[in-house]
């Protein structure tokens, strides 16, 4: 029975070591992905700001006939960009805290898992929002 217990313990240790390596991989991937989400989010917010700046320029020059605020691209780039920045921020925190937990505890703490959950949900929200909004535009304007 003792030998069996030792076997199970050794198997668990091996599993744990592999798991630690994989969690480290997840943390690194999350950090890299967060940079890409930040880029996407900043690009979207800059585009939304451009639309508002252009609208204000037209207003300042009294081009009344040519002045309309394009709400649809503004919503797509603005909200999509903000979602991208939030997702990037959560992924960066998930990566940093995951790596720190592995270094200090050799396991993942519950607060870190909560950040992972938020980051995963926000990935889905950002992707879904961008994809569905583009589809809505395609259908509306029958490109």
């Amino acid at each position: 029975m003792d030998i069996l217990d030792q076997d199970i313990e050794r198997d668990d240790n091996e599993l744990h070591n592999t798991q630690v390596v994989q969690i480290k991989g997840f943390a690194t991937s999350a950090k890299i992905l967060s940079i890409f989400f930040f880029l996407l989010g900043i690009g979207g917010v800059l585009l939304a700001t451009t639309i508002v700046l252009r609208y204000r320029r037209h207003l300042n020059r009294n081009w009344v006939n040519d002045t309309t605020l394009d709400w649809e691209p503004l919503l797509l780039f603005g909200i999509g960009g903000i979602l991208g920045i939030i997702t990037g921020w959560l992924l960066m925190r998930a990566g940093i805290k995951g790596a720190r937990d592995i270094r200090e505890l050799r396991n993942i703490s519950t607060p870190t898992l909560a950040i992972w959950n938020s980051a995963i949900i926000f990935i889905g929200l950002t992707l879904g929002y961008i994809a569905l909004y583009i589809l809505y535009l395609i259908v509306k304007y029958e490109i």
């Binding site: 994989q22 690009g43 800059l46 585009l47 451009t50 320029r57 995963i120 949900i121 879904g128």
Partner: protein, 136 residues
């Protein structure tokens, strides 16, 4: 009494699996809508007389983009579907492997999209911003 923190990881991971399930479902639903619209485009291409090639090309492009989007969605679902692991189980390693691979797939997609969005956004913003400064 056992607190939440004392529970083994595979039990605490339950909420992460639920989050992955929700995220995966959102992505899959978006992909299904995309596929439907892509097929509408392709069907429409045979009905219109003008620019029919454009409709066909747009349909094929949407199918391609949707397929790329579908990969991380399915991976999230697969991660969420894993059985609970125990001392005798084998899936405990598989979970994190799948989650890490999902992020790598997303890195490939968002690496391209993110860099393009940033360059495009920065160029247009600088053009508009400097135009305001120059009062042009």
């Amino acid at each position: 009494m056992e607190t939440e923190k004392d529970k083994p990881l595979h039990q605490r991971l339950y909420n992460t699996q639920k989050a992955a399930l929700a995220s995966g479902l959102i992505i899959i639903l978006s992909s299904i809508f995309s596929f439907i619209i892509a097929f509408i485009f392709i069907i429409k291409s045979s009905q219109v007389e003008f620019l029919s090639e454009f409709y066909l090309l747009a349909g094929i492009l949407i199918i391609l983009m949707t397929t790329i989007l579908l990969i991380p969605g399915l991976m999230f679902l697969k991660f969420a579907q894993n059985k609970m692991a125990n001392s005798n189980g084998t899936s405990i390693n598989y979970r994190f492997n799948m989650l890490r691979n999902t992020l790598v797939a997303l890195c490939v997609i968002f690496g391209i999209v993110g860099i393009l969005a940033f360059i495009g956004g920065a160029v247009l913003f600088l053009e508009e911003f400097t135009r305001n400064l120059r009062q042009y």
